[in-house]
Symmetry: C2
Subunit: 528 residues, 2 copies
């Protein structure tokens, strides 16, 4: 007994990558604690206040405290935070699964609104948080950051974590709301990471004029190329699976091919300096639309569950890690900010987060309602707007990863200002996840009291979340909604028609094209 | 285009762990080549000569050659061989899957024979190979190795790779043969690794007397404790899944818990300095016997396929890696052995491998036949003995990993003798996998011509390889086989009875115990 205990203590005391025994200990502890989180999360499933993220955070904290005591105050974690680990291994399964499981019908139906939230919204939020920090930080005696650092801060605190809210909103009862929150979450992640990279590469001193335009142009280019790459790899997978008929021999090979190709799409995008997140997201969408239909029944069940499982483990891992990292004494020591300054920074950031999000959710929702006019879509009610606003208040793993990327070197920083930013980020993630997270269920119960009726567009939403649903339903319906409108409504309707009609036509033509050319080549049943 | 191409070239040229871009490139290339292997393996499935391992080896070689040209002769691989990577990430899924998918009925029915092949056989083979190398190496002018090195060489070349043969033998047509080859393969892996570690820790100078006894005692201790640990973790998982009824909420959580607990068993065994391989193997057996019955139908399908897929990817990865590593020019340069000496060493090892295996397969088979006497088991025919002998001639990833572990430091060696051992190991793995591998299908076709009748014990073997089969069948059957025996046969039968009866009784009592106490607590249907 003594031997392995000493090994653990030794591994804990040395920290860092360490030798072989250190790795074994880290993996052991992490796996054991992950199992614990699984069981605890399961037992607390019905609980009104906590959720998966909170459980993992708290367990991580407790384990961190144990390690802290065990190492006699030297450190609290057994793995250094490694953004590479995060961006190469942990993030891809989460995003791929999001694309693979997304209800494509709802997603594309609300495409414009989701994009306005996920892209325009992030730009607005970044502007507000950056400007706010730049203006307010000196007032609490904390102001030695570059312009790029402020922009990075804006991006870091504009990336949201919607997992918490998605666990509470019912996809069946409020499909449109669910789709908006979910879609925004994914697009927001991608936008934050892409924008962050664009800002990091920005030479703020040389290029004064046209900076914003350049960032936007870069962003659009990245968005387009990443999407095309993801779709191409997804289609290639579908074609190979269909043409070679893998199921004839082996289900395992089908599953392996899908998983490997998905991962390849992410890594290839990173290699080509594109956005891996967007690529793997669209690869997931295309795979569930085509490739998924070309495999055996066993493979369909396996892929659906395995991607969800991997994503689930990855998410738990992140929160666990953040929990363990919170007690990392080195950073707290390095940060020389006084308690008053720390509280000041924290208060400023929380206020800016609340404000920055309100500044785009409500205006953009109203705009979206106005554009939709009296068309077939139900408007986004004020209560839904509050839920959307709330859903994006939590800050999560992406914030942490971006902060480490910008303000540390391999997880270590010796600069007190940077250390203060890191510790503040950790505190903000903790606070938003714990406090806002605790309030999510009660808030949503108050906002959305047991809506047993179906809202949104189709009305045919089934309770199964199988990708199969996608093609059973017509892509758009109720297009000839009867209306007896007032003058203003008619005017609004005309404006909305101008915008909606092309989208609608794109949908219809796409369906026809899909049925005529894509489905026969890449697989899957016809929709008409 | 130029940018990423330069990145690849740069990553290839620097080799080693490298920076972030190097990792991205390595992962990209590996993932892409793995996909290629999958497709190629699928297309060659019906081919009479090649198999998965050979395809991966050859593709690895070709990619290695490309990298070699690209880096202008500097190196041929983009990842250093890392035994840690192998033992921590690649081996566990393979062994766990073996335990999870093994036909427990056949495995335990042939338990004594499998153990005699997998344990006694390895000891015999190690003795012959070690002694042979010690005697013959100086005769080809190569003799600067320690006694421990010779013993390590014996272990390295006694670990077999039966994947190749298992792809050819039909589990339905010759269940006993399949079970023997499969069981021996797993036990052999475990024995080799355990024995290797025992030998590495041996202080050959201090401890002259009782060394063999000490090694055997260590081995038995490790075997017993590892098995108990694996079974305990498997039972704990089954109990948690049953008691908490995870399926109520989430299939993903069930799958995640099973996978994580399996991995935990391996890492925990490593942490406690036990045999991770044995632990995770028995954990797999116990999980498929109990835990698998406590989860939802989707989880059953998912787990069955996902473990097989992971194992499949891991195996392909290994052969791909070995293929790429074969052209690593550094090792060939470091090894200063002349061409004649190299050929000599290679010839000696191949001969010893052939001899060492023959020295236990045939005698132990005859012993097993004699012991079984006229009992219910069909004897191991001479043709089957040849197949068993042949099945274990291939050397694979375990040999490579052990050789790197003993003769290099993190994949690098500057000692010419050690480099020569490494290159010889690579050549032996190549030769046995390619040449013996190519001959496997034809040989087995000659030895086992289309046996459409069922052989072996139960006679009820179904073609499905679902773990479900296990409990449909009675554990032992035909126990009252009618016999009209000669005197000698009666004597043989009496001897065999002395040995078989206790095993048989253990089985029956175990089944009763299982039904009465284990099944109600840990889950799964009753057998009677």
């Amino acid at each position: 007994m003594a031997a392995w205990w000493e090994e653990i203590v030794a591994a804990v005391s040395t920290s860092g990558p360490g030798g072989s025994s250190g790795t074994v200990v880290s993996i052991c502890v992490f796996t054991a604690v992950l199992c614990l989180c699984l069981v605890a999360g399961h037992l607390l499933e019905e609980n009104k206040w906590v959720n998966e993220s909170i459980t993992a955070l708290i367990i991580g904290c407790i384990v961190g405290a144990f390690i802290f005591l065990l190492s006699k105050g030297r450190n609290s974690h057994i793995l250094r935070f490694d953004e590479q680990l995060f961006f190469i291994y942990v993030l891809p399964p989460i995003i791929f699964n999001a694309g693979f499981q997304v209800k494509k019908k709802q997603f594309f139906h609300n495409f414009l609104t989701i994009m306005s939230f996920g892209v325009v919204g992030v730009f607005i939020s970044v502007a507000i948080v950056s400007a706010g920090c730049h203006w307010l930080f000196p007032k609490v005696g904390f102001g030695k950051l570059d312009a790029v650092d402020y922009l990075a801060l804006g991006t870091i605190f504009s990336s949201t974590d919607t997992v918490c809210t998605l666990q509470v909103i019912s996809q069946d009862e409020t499909p449109r709301l669910y789709s908006l929150v979910f879609g925004e979450g994914v697009v927001n992640d991608a936008t934050s990471v892409v924008l962050f990279n664009a800002i990091k590469n920005l030479d703020i001193n040389r290029l004064k004029r046209g900076v914003v335009l350049k960032v936007i142009a870069d962003f659009l280019y990245l968005f387009a190329t990443s999407t095309i790459l993801g779709a191409t790899i997804g289609l290639a997978t579908a074609y190979v699976l269909k043409a070679l008929y893998f199921g004839r021999h082996s289900t395992d090979r089908e599953v392996a091919l899908m998983a490997l190709m998905a991962y390849l799409s992410y890594m290839l995008a990173e290699l080509l300096s594109l956005s891996g997140i967007l690529t793997v997201f669209f690869c997931g969408i295309v795979m569930s639309h085509y490739a998924w239909h070309n495999v055996t029944e066993s493979s369909r069940i396996t892929t659906r569950h395995i991607f969800a499982t991997l994503s689930f483990i990855a998410e738990t891992f992140i929160f666990l890690y953040v929990g363990m990292d919170a007690l990392d004494i080195d950073k707290w020591k390095t940060s020389q900010a006084s308690f008053k300054t720390s509280i000041g920074i924290f208060g400023i950031i929380i206020s800016l987060v609340l404000l920055g999000r309100a500044a785009f959710v409500f205006p953009l929702s109203i705009l979206s309602n106005f554009m939709s006019g009296n068309s077939e879509k139900a408007p986004i009610t004020f209560k839904h707007q509050v839920v959307i606003w709330w859903a994006g208040l939590m800050r999560g793993a992406v914030s942490i990863a971006l902060a480490y990327n910008q303000f540390t070197f391999s997880g270590v920083t010796l600069d007190p200002v940077h250390a203060a930013v890191i510790t503040t980020t950790i505190v903000v993630v903790f606070f938003t996840t714990l406090v806002f997270g605790f309030l999510t269920r009660p808030l949503i119960s108050a906002m959305l009291p047991q809506q047993r009726h179906r809202e949104g567009t189709g009305g045919h939403i089934t309770s199964s979340n199988s990708p199969k649903d996608e093609f059973i339903l017509p892509f758009l319906s109720d297009e000839n909604a009867p209306g007896s409108e007032s003058g203003i409504n008619q005017a609004k309707r005309s404006i909305s028609m101008l915008l909606e009609r092309p989208v609608h036509m794109v949908h219809i033509h796409w369906r026809k094209f899909d049925d005529k050319f894509m489905r026969p080549i890449f697989g899957g049943p016809l929709s008409y």
